[in-house]
């Protein structure tokens, strides 16, 4: 029965996804699907971060860094021409076992590049290994130090992307080919594949949600919540807190990197702004609005806010909107906006003011 309850929202989500596609089909507004696809990928980063922040209680201001690692590696590997090295040992070997593919650039130049599947696996694994390497020391830190350390990681990745000629410097990487998942199913930005790609992206979201829902209702999830509640107590109860924190950190990094790979193939390129600090802050903002420990809240907010932002609704106030959201939510509704009970809010606020007044009176006397 419990299981049934857990999966009903997933079925509901599936129904919503399908009906949105049908509505856009019949109203001929299928251009919305492009932004919905992008929002779906960004939401994968958000729900991964949500489990890290809400359940593990660990803030990360560097998740755009993992997204960029995934995206940039996939982009470089699938566009960098290895033809000149064709006869070198390692390249020849990779070519022989089928990890390289031939292609043609826009100008008719012959290309020899890494197969998207191989590139994807390398990109995601690299992000995982980096998360493992920095996660150990970073997650020993708490509060401000943790925030600054992850922020620092994000800045380093951003700087590397911006300063290395190999990663295209300020221009980023373009002309990234599509990613054939299976014959006939390709992640690409081409017009004809729009509906297909919408479903690929949402398929990924649904798989991610299922995985995380199972995770947080398992032994690991309970351990994580105990860490958030009181780390010392969890430790005393025999929960290996540092190991669980590391697990969830790596998992969320993998999610971010995978989303990065898909977005890069979908857009046909990636630029350094994807690695920027504002992107990381944006992911944190969305998790905060959704109500830290609330995957559904994070998912809904991730879709809504990213969709509005991608549609350009906020205009030149795009970043400012996320700043306002962060401040307002954290001041008035640290539990997220889906859990606001307005009446109770007003009562507790007025109680706060009364208390403050009393305090001031007592200080004066």
């Amino acid at each position: 029965m419990d299981l049934f309850k857990r999966y009903i929202p997933v079925l509901f989500l599936l129904a919503v996804v399908v009906s949105i596609q049908l509505v856009t089909h019949f109203t001929e507004t299928s251009f919305y699907l492009t932004q919905l696809t992008m929002s779906a990928y960004y939401s994968v980063v958000v729900i991964g971060l949500c489990v890290l922040m809400g359940y593990g209680g660990q803030i990360s201001l560097g998740h755009a860094g993992f997204f960029a690692i995934g995206g940039y590696l996939a982009g470089v590997l699938t566009t960098h021409n290895l033809l000149a090295f064709k006869d070198y040992g390692i390249v020849a070997f990779l070519n022989k076992i089928g990890l390289l593919i031939d292609g043609q650039s826009l100008y008719g130049e012959t290309l020899l590049t890494v197969h998207p599947w191989a590139a994807c696996i390398v990109a995601v694994l690299t992000a995982g290994v980096i998360a493992l390497a920095i996660g150990g020391p970073v997650l020993k830190l708490k509060g401000h130090y943790l925030a600054m350390a992850t922020l620092g990681f994000g800045i380093i990745i951003f700087r590397i992307a911006l300063a290395s000629p190999y990663f295209g410097e300020a221009d980023g990487i373009s002309e990234v080919p599509g990613f054939k998942l299976l014959p006939g199913i390709e992640v690409s930005g081409s017009f004809g594949d729009r509906v297909l790609n919408y479903y690929i992206a949402w398929g990924m979201v649904i798989i991610a949600v299922l995985l995380l829902l199972n995770l947080i209702h398992s032994r690991v999830g309970r351990a994580l919540r105990s860490i958030h509640g009181a780390e010392e107590a969890a430790n005393a109860m025999g929960v290996n807190t540092s190991r669980y924190k590391l697990y969830i950190f790596i998992l969320s990094a993998l999610f971010a990197a995978l989303a990065g790979v898909f977005v890069t193939h979908y857009n046909g390129g990636i630029g350094p702004s994807e690695a920027g600090v504002m992107k990381s802050v944006r992911y944190v903002a969305i998790v905060a609005v959704g109500g830290m420990a609330n995957i559904w809240g994070a998912l809904i907010m991730g879709i809504v806010l990213n969709f509005l932002s991608l549609r350009g609704v906020f205009g030149s106030y795009d970043d400012a909107v996320f700043g306002v959201i962060l401040v307002i939510i954290m001041l008035f509704a640290p539990e997220g906006i889906l859990k606001i009970n307005p009446w109770q809010r007003i009562k507790s606020l007025s109680a706060l003011f009364m208390k403050q007044k009393e305090e001031e009176d007592s200080v004066e006397n």
Partner: protein, 296 residues
Amino acid sequence: MTPELFLQYLFAGITYGVIYAIVAIGFNIIYNTTGIINFAQGEFVMLGGMIAITMHSFMPLPLAIVVAVLITMVVGALIEIVFIRWLDSPSVLRMIIITIGLSILVREAALHIWGESVRALPYFIGNEVTSVSILGAKISPQVLWVIGVCSLMVAGLSLFFKFTSLGREMRACSANRRAATLCGINAKNMVTLSFVLSAGIGAVAGCVMSPITYSDYEMGPTLAIKGFTVAVIGGLGNSLAAVAAGLLLGIIEAFSISVLPLAFQDAIATSILLLILFIRPHGLFGSSDLASLKEF
């Protein structure tokens, strides 16, 4: 490397170093009274410089700087009163997110007021090519202004905290807030004052550095992360050690330019930050026993 070139790099390092130290001291003042790291610290520096540049278009330079510093102090006070004062023992995570949000708001406001263009105050004495020669190295007089003003501020602050009753009250709050309140000190006002003070010194630094380093709306975060690095190297809350740490970071950065491309400069500071956080989170000069008692 010739001795002249060495000195040239050294002076560049010291100039940046004292600016980082001032930002770090701004972090420390607020951290000591509240236990909060104010992520919007770099924005105070930006505001100081940008407001002074605007004011200078219709008033003399010294007056423009004074007005800019005063306005920034008012902004600092407003930020504390509107967003922080009334929160009932907020969690660290919540405070981090609020101050990050505030820094974005200040930055976006600056973007819409001043635009993306890079501006600068005029040199206080002479112009871009005026230089004094020290031991064979050519130094702009503005560098001496930066070093002089920042040293004066550090000296002034340590005298303030040591000898004035207001400074003592602030120190009492940082040592034990409850006990200070029981002694009749209004702890909440001390917190506001700490925001005003760190906004003020940030703004002064923003004005004196503007002719050399220029000001634009997005200079804040970079300065903030370097200031934080310096604060951590010195040991969070320890302002005199922050000066030493600031000089250290400034000089390392200056010499790194001779080996690595300029674009990696920020990555160096952040790598040092990560390294310090991993190895000695209590700072080079701090004691680990003391640090374990604090809450980060």
